[in-house]
């Protein structure tokens, strides 16, 4: 461990968690959110040299992505699912992708976070640790509002667990002002799976419209267990439910615009799946 003025550099997770439990520090992964309005008195805990946070590996069920893996590392890893690579491909520019991390994207808790959107729709879980143990929670349980998470002062996000199966049939669109550097205005991700003509999954997540990424599992359930033809017959009801559920916030782009983009993307997703 190295102690600097205004910072701690550690090379293993145990030391990092010990510091988290004893000192009030700000975890620093890639710095691409933190350094934009860097505080002069910030005391950082540097995570970029902790091997446990930088690996990508898979077990039977999950792909484990270390919280401090950079976008470039995730993009270049052959284990990463294509839906995640697509989102990274449209995210910022090379220099930001070389430093920015998936864990930072999640913990910064912006509704615009492009990879958090993918983790939502993919049913990813977060492995969070402190010195006494770990807890694993679905990503949607991590957020309590814009910029607010359930992460405790003594905890670190260690890994993102992405299910290995079922992400092949996806849809991803980001509607932004410019491609590079465009923090998404509205982004949409969907996953659609059928088995023997029956819909087994119709997941959708919306970025940049509300205080957090939006996903409505109860509304998705309407299609599950139905044939494409049956789904088609209740398409307008399905859409109307979302029309009601999505309550956009006022941002730089008008609320109405954001919402109509959302609805267009949702409809396009359904159409592309034959509904």
């Amino acid at each position: 461990m190295v102690t600097f003025s205004n910072g701690y550099l550690v090379d293993n997770l145990a030391d990092a968690l010990k510091i988290r439990s004893e000192i009030d520090v700000t975890p620093y992964a890639g710095g691409t959110d933190l350094m934009v309005d860097a505080k002069e008195d910030a005391v950082y805990l540097f995570l970029n040299k902790i091997p446990e946070l930088r690996r990508i590996y898979s077990d039977e069920q999950y792909l484990h992505i270390g919280a401090a893996c950079t976008y470039t590392e995730i993009f270049e890893n052959s284990l990463s699912p294509q839906i995640l690579k697509d989102a990274i491909d449209y995210l910022a520019a090379p220099a930001i992708r070389n430093m920015g991390t998936a864990g930072g994207n999640i913990c910064n808790a912006s509704p615009k976070a492009d990879t958090a959107l993918i983790f939502y729709v993919a049913d990813a879980k977060l492995r969070i640790c402190n010195t006494s143990g770990e807890r694993i929670l679905p990503i949607e349980d991590f957020y309590v509002g814009r910029g607010k998470t359930v992460l405790q002062k003594d905890e670190l996000l260690v890994e993102i667990l992405v299910p290995k199966q079922g992400l092949e049939h996806y849809y991803y669109k980001k509607v932004g002002a410019r491609q590079a550097l465009a923090i998404s205005r509205v982004a949409f991700a969907g996953i659609f799976t059928t088995e023997n003509g029956i819909i087994t999954r119709c997941a959708m997540a919306f970025g940049s419209v509300a205080d957090t990424v939006l996903r409505f599992r109860d509304l998705e359930a309407l299609f599950v267990g139905k044939s494409i033809a049956e789904a088609k017959s209740i398409r307008s009801q399905f859409i109307a439910n979302y029309e009601q559920a999505i309550v956009p916030i006022r941002g730089r782009v008008s609320a109405e615009y954001r919402k109509s983009v959302c609805m267009n993307l949702l409809e396009d997703f359904l159409t592309q799946n034959g509904i």
């Binding site: 910072g7 910022a92 070389n98």
Partner: protein, 158 residues
């Protein structure tokens, strides 16, 4: 005892007494007088402050000093001593890709990072590679052309 920060800068081992939360950009310009590293925004948007950090492109305004302990930093001042730089520089001259020059140190390093990964980039790949480096003068076409010339005439360098 609060430790110094050690890193390699343009091939030389150096130390810094700065706080761990200070920007690499400020340290390079103010302490090491490497003024080829430009400051255009301090928000990660313009790329004028680009350096190579452990071989990859990074915006030095977005890097806190404590994170670079033990790392290798190359600025345009160090890079300009290489054959690859010469190839890029000649190509930029051929297409008149430099106007005011403010973006150029960062732009050249972005081109280096691109060519190091992809020695034969397409137009689209070049535009993507330099997408984080803003240039308000040239309209980018001459730069894209220059990268293609450098890739061709500097064959074997990357």
């Amino acid at each position: 005892m609060n430790g110094q920060i050690h890193f390699t800068l343009n091939g030389e081992k150096v130390t810094s007494d700065r706080h761990a939360n200070e920007r690499l950009l400020d340290v390079l310009r103010e302490d090491f007088k490497l003024t080829g590293v430009k400051c255009g925004c301090k928000e990660g948007e313009c790329g004028a402050c680009s350096v190579l950090l452990n071989g990859v492109l990074a915006n030095s305004c977005m890097v806190a000093m404590g994170s670079i302990e033990g790392s290798e930093v190359v600025t345009i001042e160090g890079y300009s001593k290489t054959k690859r730089f010469q190839a890029l520089s000649d190509a930029y001259a051929q297409t008149s890709a430099v106007q005011c020059g403010f973006c150029i140190p960062g732009m050249v390093l972005a081109c280096e990072a691109l060519l190091a990964k992809n020695p034969n980039p397409t137009d689209a790949e070049i535009r993507k590679g330099i997408s984080g480096n803003l240039c308000r003068c040239t309209g980018y076409n001459a730069i894209v052309e220059a990268v293609k010339i450098a890739a061709r005439e500097g064959k074997g360098l990357w």
